[in-house]
Amino acid sequence: MTEQPRLADQNATVALPEPFVRWFGEKGWSPRAHQIELLAKAQSGQSVLLIAPTGAGKTLAGFLPSLTELAVWPRRKPGQARRGIHTLYISPLKALAVDIERNLGKPVEEIGLPVTIETRTGDTPSHKRQRQKLAPPDILLTTPEQLALLIAAGDARRFFEDLRYVVLDELHSLVTSKRGHLLALGLARLRSFVPGLQMIGLSATVAEPDELRRWLVSQNPPKGATSPDMAELIVVTGGAKPEITILDSEERVPWAGHSARYATPEIYREIKRHKTTLLFVNTRSQAELLFQELWRVNDDTLPIALHHGSLDVAQRRRVEKAMGENALRAIVATSTLDLGIDWGDVDLVVHVGAPKGASRLAQRIGRANHRMDEPSKAILIPANRFEVLECRAALDANYLGAQDTPPLVNGGLDVLAQHVLGCACGAPFRADDLFEEVRTAAPYAYLDRPTFDRVVDFVATGGYALKNYERYARIRLNKDGLWRVSNPRVAQQYRLNVGTIIEVPALNVRYVQAGSKGSASRGGRVLGKIEEAFLETLTHGDTFMFAGKVLRFEGIRESECFVSNAPGSDAKVPYYGGGKFPLSTYLAEQVRIILDDPQRWKKLPEQVADWLRFQADKSVLPKREDLLIETFPRGNRHYLVAYPFEGRLAHQTLGMLLTRRLDRAGARPLGFVATDYALAIWSLGDMGAMFKARKPSLGALFDQDMLGDDLEAWLADSWLLKRTFRNCALISGLIEKRHPGQEKSGRQVTVSTDLIYDVLRSHEPDHILLQATRADAAAGLLDVSRLADMLSRIQGRIMHKNLEQISPLAVPIMLEIGKMPVNGEADETLLMDAATLVAEAMGPEMVEE
């Protein structure tokens, strides 16, 4: 909990019980206006959304209605029935729940409130969970998965019957994922247990507050009901304006790449100048690289640490602890540190690489100086020239207070299937009632009855047209009109598989002696986990960077990857793992505006402005609403470079579709590469000449109809869809993440879902799970909606430049060719290469053997 400033407001204390007034007085504080406003609205029975920047006393505000009520709640007398949970607090992170327990405990103790506060997470021992069921605390701090488990228990209704408030922390981050869908369904269930239940949502600034306001309360109210369909809104604006600068490096800013290696000495200088610096990067590989580079120049051996999601948990906890004790001078981190855990005295945030979204930048900068009234200080370090433009755009956006949090998407049917089974595990249900209840959750307000019935059918017997599994049904419709689980084992399996977080198959990375292959000894300590997909591309002796070290790959055995130290060597294989956010639509537009307006180049570093001037000279700069296409020959190939600025995902999808079309048009395309800013396709045929002859015309090539049949045809076989299907299959409970007494390895799951996908697609292409998979892929991996918006925007606005040679603007993406692995589609070619190598090495007669 943050320190309260002295705000003198005499009326503010009116709604506060006496012990609170005294406590504020003793501290020399006054409650803040939004805290009192929230309390008043809550006391009048309403649900509330509080949007406030970090350091505004959000947490205390969220709990004030509960604490003031609990202060006067009559104590239970001996012999009286036990009292249930009064307030449920839900956060996206276990660590946050633990943090809140500590921070809330302090005022509760000082005020002298008879309130019990406990956490319940995946780490809570089973005896404590059982005790919590018998003697619930007043305030339970937990996560969305734990709520799903509580709901699936037979005593759920009784456990929650006294519930008054649900406090939802970091709501903006919860609502955007499938976890949010599951949570929304869970809250709908709680509302049906306790009709007057009030929600209090705490959120950072978002683009569309009304979406969150609807999310908090019941949608599709029954006819005649007068309850509002949006929660009350309280917005706390301001805080001090952050001081953000873009590093104007004395070094040359590179054309391409993401390392920002050129700026290391300048970053180090800033670390030395500040007490504690938080360095954010976008990917794990960037984190590893930056950490390495900083230690290379760390002549003063400052304590600089590394933190990302793949590192061993114990290692991460040590870093977090050191951070809390202010024992570190700098910490290099990925998005794992994005959320609102309190870290010591961070006085500088350095953002390496472009932030990809204005809201994300604002939140990360909010990590510095957890006090609202002091300005946060931040430096942006663009890793290449396009990122300079993007940083500039993000910076302008942050000053203007622009927001570009993603719009909410409809709830997934796979998540709904999980919830339906969970409800059945808790208590028998009537389909009519559950359908109405589900539709009160905002992500499922769209749901129609036939779809819901198909989901129930899926949960029961798999929902197949071929009715072969009736006798194996997991839930059954009884004569009394209620659906019941057919067997207690079903509930037991459900509990082991609850949740929507799917782990990518990953292997432990363990130290061994060089050359031992791990066979002689079991090896040394575990450094963390790495995705299997990356490790599969390594061969013995390859070096790569992980956990801040250069490691040599020794081999894989069972579920472990053995590595040895390779100090002093260069990491040969770049590690692409870790999340990479696509450029937000908002920032993309800002970048196009900057390009279109030479007046705004004045704010750019000179070398970057020069680059744009060269472009204007040699080719042309894209207009704000236009799509620039350049074609030029190079070597014995022809290149097409498009500049949509719609983010890597949308560009990848576009690249897949365009190469199909170009192939049909006879251009003989060979490959493509996509970045956040541009797309390059190379071919044997002269695409420039083809477009000039309008065979095909660019208008026809970029026609929106590519999102129809071409998309379907490509998707059908795409590895992207298989991966998405795997997630849907796991979340929906088609296959299990865990089975009692048996842990499946990621490998086995992957193989079988691919096979299931093939069989299902050819025999029942309209199955509900394939429907869910396509919806997911369109929204997530493919960014189809964004691509569709772009294609409709550029109708009749395509600008074609047929050049004799590469343009300055094209240099960055041309440098990416060959560096980025192109996924999935050309496996046959690789096999052919391997077979040919064999033929060359051994002579043709051996192969034909």
Partner: protein, 238 residues
Amino acid sequence: MNFSLARASLIAEADLVDVAGESAVCDRRGVLYFPEFRLLAVSDLHLEKGSSLARRGTLIPPYDTGATLLRLQAVISDYQPSIVISLGDSFHDGGGAERMHASFRERLEALMAGRDWFWVAGNHDPEAPADLPGDTVRELAIGSLLFRHEPSKVRVEGEISGHLHPCARIVQQGRSVRRRCFAGDGGRMIMPAFGAYTGSLNVLDHAYAGLFRLESLMAYMLGADRIFAISRSMLRPG
């Protein structure tokens, strides 16, 4: 098109592989055809694996038997063999044949009609499948070939087996490709699993230890249009 003509062209275009002196077509769909005996071998069909898992609460699509039979039908109509050997684990469990949907049973019986059909006993289906024609055998010798489900620990020249579900993996240009494969060293051959829901095990796994002469081990990886013969030095574990 005339069946025998189709067969002739298939054989002409295919990769002919030598097993203990007998010449066989290594079909990219995962079957072996010996022209001399008009014999088709297929392994590890694992029919009714879907319903087998469904019994235990995992309701995966009930179309695996149909999908597997459809593919089997395609190769049988291409080669028109007079002998078919199903190399064991034809059904995923002992009750599989009984559970099979009537329409699938009819389709299977139509495939079997007019040929000699041998069910080699496997570890999943040690007994003869219920109410189906065909002969159930533990192993079968034809010419210099010996067909059995599990490869024996001692070397047997001419042994054709299944059971291990071999696959192979290569890494090219920083990318990894894994495919089912036939594994052979010229003396013995282990066939890939044919069933729609069957997983696979890398030929470099220790389960294969001692089975092959390593210097002549080849993985015949199943491609979209053809077989890719890959030598052991190119193969990667995992």
